[in-house]
């Protein structure tokens, strides 16, 4: 059994430090790892990254994250990632990590991702240079995610993104902004490997549950969607740990 705690869009700054900590101190009782689906900070500054590390670092379980669009706002994403790494937090960007959890190997492949929309209403790399750059950014992210997923050897494989891979978990958001919330290319990458679960954030007004065209369960764990410090998902098990109620 592997239990995965997940949340996204926590937007930590100094004013948030201490809000999550009581729940995080209990996390090792109910989960083996914490995945955070981007937008760790408000403006992507080094100081905010320090606040995130203070709040989400030093746990008894591994913490694995991808960055989100907010974490790029100050063009300091490399420094932000450095602060997190120094705090023992694994930052994925087109890469993967394998964690040995109670004898099971959990593989997590992550990328921030980008927009572009979904089948029937998606952008194409055509025309202006800016449009080609927009779609090309998503293509590169999806290619890196797919390669990371396909080359990760493990017992259970999870995809972690900030942007959404399917439209179902955007339900509740205005249709007009779907192309800025995710891309089918991420879903296609997820479906190119034996992925057990895909986690994303970014869509604060979206819905929690969806599934890729290939059948992979997708969960939008944006904090305003799950409305608690983190959700817990269980893989590779017949049992539910005492203290938690199965749903």
């Amino acid at each position: 059994m592997i239990r995965i705690a997940a949340v996204g869009d926590v937007h930590v700054d100094a004013d948030v430090v201490g809000r999550y900590r009581p729940a995080l101190e209990q996390l090792s009782d109910v989960a083996d790892v914490l995945l955070v689906a981007g937008d760790l900070t408000r403006h992507g500054t080094v100081a905010e990254a320090g606040s995130f590390a203070t709040e989400f670092g030093g746990l008894e379980v591994p913490v694995v994250v991808v960055l989100g669009n907010h974490d790029h706002q100050s063009d300091q994403q490399a420094e932000v990632a450095g602060v997190l790494a120094d705090a023992g937090i694994t930052v994925l960007e087109g890469t993967s990590v394998v964690l040995d959890l109670h004898g099971h190997r959990l593989g997590v492949a992550g990328v921030k991702g980008f927009g572009g929309g979904f089948a029937g209403a998606c952008a194409s790399a055509f025309g202006e240079r800016e449009m080609k750059s927009f779609v090309g950014t998503t293509e590169q992210a999806a290619d890196k995610l797919g390669a990371a997923l396909r080359t990760t050897e493990c017992d259970a494989l999870v995809a972690l993104t900030h942007y959404a891979p399917v439209p179902e978990t955007l339900a509740g958001e205005p249709l007009e902004i779907y192309p800025f919330l995710g891309s089918y290319l991420l879903g296609q990458a997820i479906d190119s490997a034996p992925t057990a679960l895909a986690l994303h954030g970014h869509a604060h007004h979206g819905s929690e549950r969806g599934r890729t065209a290939g059948g992979v369960p997708v969960r939008n764990v944006a904090h305003p969607v799950i409305r608690q410090a983190y959700n817990v998902y269980q893989l590779l098990s017949q049992d539910v740990e005492a203290g938690l109620v199965g749903v």
Binding site: H43, P224, R227, Y233
Partner: protein, 84 residues
């Protein structure tokens, strides 16, 4: 500036809340109810909610606003979902 048509006013407020260096919130909803602008959505702290209202009032002093913005709860979960 608050003589803007409603569509332009909402866009101006949304851009203010997103692009302003002190707020950076993209999840705030704005609805007109008669002559009052109702703000909705959730943020991570009371300080952020108060700053949103302060920024709007500072930029659009003649606007009457009602703040229904909540603070997202951060309690530990009581359930686990088995993925299959």
């Amino acid at each position: 500036m608050n003589s803007l048509p409603d569509d332009y006013l909402e866009a101006a407020i949304q851009r203010l809340l997103t692009e302003d260096g002190t707020v950076a919130e993209q999840g705030i909803t704005i609805h007109s109810r008669e002559l009052v602008l109702v703000l909705g959505g959730e943020v991570e702290s009371a300080r952020r909610r108060d700053e949103i209202c302060r920024q709007i009032t500072a930029h659009f002093p003649d606007l009457e606003i009602t703040c229904d913005i909540g603070i997202t709860r951060a309690q530990a979960p009581g359930e686990v979902e088995e993925i299959s």
